[in-house]
């Protein structure tokens, strides 16, 4: 279970990007986070695995408080959180197998990693997962030879290699064409069910969010203003999520304060 309480993130001295945000993800549900650019979706996801340092608040994953961790403890916690990126973030010059195994870097020694001496069960697991998403025949191919959809499959397998307790996907389909995008969303949905894995997806495409997820969270300027079943995301809710400007939102804050 992921439990976020009163999370605040402020870059520099500016307006907070996340404003006392609270969110709980239970079980193996696929949750979409929607909202306009600048709403804080990416920041929220990156606070969870501490690629971004939260300013205050608490993030608990299956009983472990993540915000206070440092060094080795932080790395151990990160192993339990898989992440899929918008730009794939594969190492272009390495093979697909090396990219997939890089999801295990937190478990193996630097020496074993440099010498490419991966544990047998990791290699078996890699083939298993690559087979599952249809990229097993690319094991020895350099990552930059693959198409966008194939690259994102590598990204997904890399994250799953961590044997994570939760999967974060930061706009995983934004760099893909519509058809590939649907395939990847379908894959994430299926894998969540197969591996009993909660998945948190930032997404711009609300129609895909409605089809492929179990719950939709709408964010607007650092706050959650919608949290319900996908069917409940109607035009009125969409308008509330996507309307307004940061400026209008700030003046609203001022009125509330006075």
């Amino acid at each position: 279970m992921l439990k976020i309480t009163d999370l605040v993130k402020r870059y520099g001295g500016g307006e907070p990007v996340l404003k006392n945000l609270s969110l709980t993800i239970e079980g193996e549900s696929v949750v979409a986070i929607v909202g306009s650019s600048g709403a804080g979706k990416s920041t929220l996801l990156r606070c969870i695995n501490r690629l971004v340092e939260p300013t205050s608040g608490s993030i608990e994953l299956n009983g472990t408080e993540l915000t206070a961790l440092h060094g080795r403890k932080l790395r151990e916690a990160r192993r339990n959180i898989g992440m899929v990126f918008q730009g794939f973030n594969l190492v272009d010059r390495l093979t697909v197998m090396e990219n997939v195994q890089s999801g295990r870097l937190g478990y193996i020694s630097t020496w074993a990693a440099v010498m490419r001496r991966y544990p047998k069960q990791d290699i078996r697991r890699a083939y298993e997962l690559m087979e599952r998403v249809g990229i097993a025949h690319y094991a020895n191919t350099r990552a930059d030879q693959l198409s966008g959809g194939e690259r994102q499959r590598v990204g997904v397998v890399r994250a799953l290699m961590q044997d994570p307790e939760i999967l974060l996907a930061d706009e995983p389909t934004a760099s893909l064409d519509p058809k590939t995008s649907e395939q990847i969303m379908g894959l994430l949905q299926d894998l969540a069910g197969e591996l009993k894995l909660p998945v948190l997806i930032n997404i711009h495409n609300t129609s895909e969010a409605k089809i492929y997820t179990d719950r939709i969270v709408g964010m607007r300027y650092g706050r959650i203003i919608f949290d319900d079943l996908p069917d409940k995301l109607d035009q009125e809710a969409m308008d509330r999520i996507y309307s307004g400007s940061p400026h209008a939102d700030r003046s609203e804050d001022l009125r509330e304060a006075s």
């Binding site: 594969l90 190492v91 272009d92 890089s102 870097l105 193996i108 630097t110 994250a159 961590q162």
Partner: protein, 264 residues
């Protein structure tokens, strides 16, 4: 009828006309002043032309008689260049990581930059003079000199390449809980590898050239042979050496260019 203007001039580089013309006049005045005040003795230049004529007269035809001396000198230069490149590049890699702002913490970054700046601030000839004093005449001084020279160039260029990497790959490793050095080897090394190989080959080429120069001040190699030939007024042998240096450098440039093209 259109009221739009039909002439347009590019705005001047320096907008303020007083500053612009002031700069032009200052530059012109400075050149005139330098030309007028530098102590160039035209009489001595005229005498020198005669001497230069004698040197070139003595140099033709070039003499390859003592070719074993020439070959020995060259092999030594090659050894110096290879050793210095290996040592220099090996030292350059950690220094480059220290001097890259996006992977090093601030104090380490300053230390790395400082090493590079020191290595770059002196011409190899000056470094060679110091090392010849420190470790004596011969190729060892040459190797040390060219290691310093290699660090100055390779570490600087490599640090710049590290600063240009796609940081998303580093983020992906961090997100997976990878330790620092594993991240370095998986996310950064593959990205800088082509540049690293290209720089090493370029530096080998460059060190071979520089080894001819530092030899003149006593740091071994073909440069020492050349300096000796001049010292003994063997201008024909000196010309032969010069021709071979130019030839070898042409060949090595060609080869290194080819290799770098394939790697890049």
């Amino acid at each position: 009828m259109s009221e739009h203007p039909d002439t347009w001039r590019k705005p001047p580089f320096i907008a303020n006309p007083v500053l612009r013309w002031g700069l032009y006049i200052f530059a012109l005045g400075y050149f005139l002043w330098v030309g007028g005040t530098l102590p160039i003795d035209w009489g001595r230049v005229a005498d020198g032309v005669g001497r230069a004529g004698r040197i070139f007269g003595g140099a033709f035809p070039p003499s390859f008689e003592r070719s074993e001396l020439l070959i020995d000198g060259f092999l030594e230069s090659l050894k110096i260049a290879i050793l210095a490149t290996t040592g220099g590049v090996a030292l350059s890699i950690p220094i480059a990581f220290m001097a890259a702002r996006n992977v090093a913490v601030l104090p380490v970054y300053y230390l790395g930059r400082a090493i590079i700046i020191v290595a770059r601030s002196f011409h190899p000839v000056i470094v060679a003079i110091i090392f010849v004093k420190a470790v004596g005449f011969g190729p060892f001084a040459g190797v040390l000199t060219l290691i310093v020279y290699s660090i100055g160039f390779v570490a600087k260029m490599l640090a710049e390449r590290i600063e240009e990497i796609d940081f998303g790959q580093v983020e992906a490793m961090r997100a997976a809980g990878a330790p620092y050095f594993s991240t370095l080897f998986y996310a950064i090394f593959p990205q800088i590898m082509p540049r690293q190989i290209g720089l090493s080959i370029y530096q080998l080429d460059s060190n071979l050239r520089a080894s001819a120069v530092v030899g003149i001040v006593g740091a071994g190699g073909i440069g020492a042979t050349l300096a000796n030939a001049f010292g003994r007024y063997d201008y024909d042998f000196a010309l032969a050496i010069t021709i071979v240096i130019v030839g070898v450098i042409l060949v090595s440039e060609g080869i290194s260019g080819q290799i770098r093209k394939r790697v890049g």
